[in-house]
Amino acid sequence: MPKEVMRRTAADNPYLHKDFHGAMSCGIQYLHERFGAEAVREYLRRFTDAYHAPLKAALRQYGLPALAEYLDGIYEAEGAQYELAMTDDELVLRVQECPAISHMRSHGYAVADLWVETTRTVYAHLCEGSDFDFELQQYDPLSGASVQRFFRRQTP
């Protein structure tokens, strides 16, 4: 076969490499087995502090609309089926099927035992230092279907 050449620029393709979910899961499982469950949570809190610093600041400054914009962005990009309802004091996200778990299961990637922490730990830590808190009201580990609630903390 003659020499072949493929030339691409960044503009030629959208940035959406879903196999990264499998790599993320691999990393979570590795940490879990090597250092234990608390290491997974500690790592995810550090990731949140580092990567989500601008979002944490926006949540403190603008409240839930900042979070809604972020969540819409990632779930839209992933092609998820979800509903988001918001008031001044509460944001509820209902995800019919986690797009990460869906991709991993359909492509034969193992789903880490503590995959749920990429939602529970990250979003709970995102809220620390703000007027809001987070609870994962429902979660199906098989599909990742979930009900996620961000709510304004009660002040005594």
């Binding site: 072949e4 691409r8 979910h21 790599a23 993320m24 990393g27 250092f35 990731f47 990009a77």
Partner: protein, 151 residues
């Protein structure tokens, strides 16, 4: 959920976390683990198609990652080459003003792919001298030749 569009910063922070836990050797051990346990598709494609398996593997990943690259394969010469003009992963990290990339972020590529390809009889050459500017070169050769030109 951590979106797949957020994976690269998460990956970089994982390297940093592992290094804090156990030094650079802990990071390299993790890279070897990923290579052994996650990159089955590269191993399988190369086992079935030889050097062309590299072309097939990276055709998929580099396009999905929206990379700016030139990829070449010369079956007669037994050479596969990726010239990365703008690595999407390193480029993304460089663009995040509030985060520092892990100091040897790009080191994982060399470990991951060399560990698969060399035991299968290929030689790997990489030039990471400009990786902090998101540029690098990977060359895979199917049999022994003189060291290839990186230019």
């Amino acid at each position: 959920m951590i979106s797949c569009t957020e994976f690269i910063p998460a990956y970089s922070e994982l390297f940093r976390y592992l290094e804090e836990r156990g030094g650079k050797q802990e990071v390299v051990a993790y890279w070897e683990y990923i290579s052994d346990s996650f990159l089955h598709n590269l191993r399988q494609l190369v086992a079935e198609h030889g050097l062309r398996g590299c072309w097939m593997y990276w055709s998929h990943t580099l396009n999905e990652e929206a990379a700016d690259f030139t990829m070449e394969i010369d079956d007669e010469a037994g050479e596969f080459r990726i010239t990365m003009h703008q690595c999407p992963s390193r480029g993304l990290l460089n663009a995040l003003e509030h985060m520092e990339p892990y100091h040897d972020y790009c080191g994982h590529c060399d470990v991951l792919y060399r560990r698969i390809l060399e035991p299968m009889g290929f030689e790997c050459f990489s030039d990471h001298s400009e990786c902090d500017q998101a540029r690098c070169v990977l060359i895979v050769r199917s049999h022994r030749h003189d060291t290839p030109s990186m230019g």
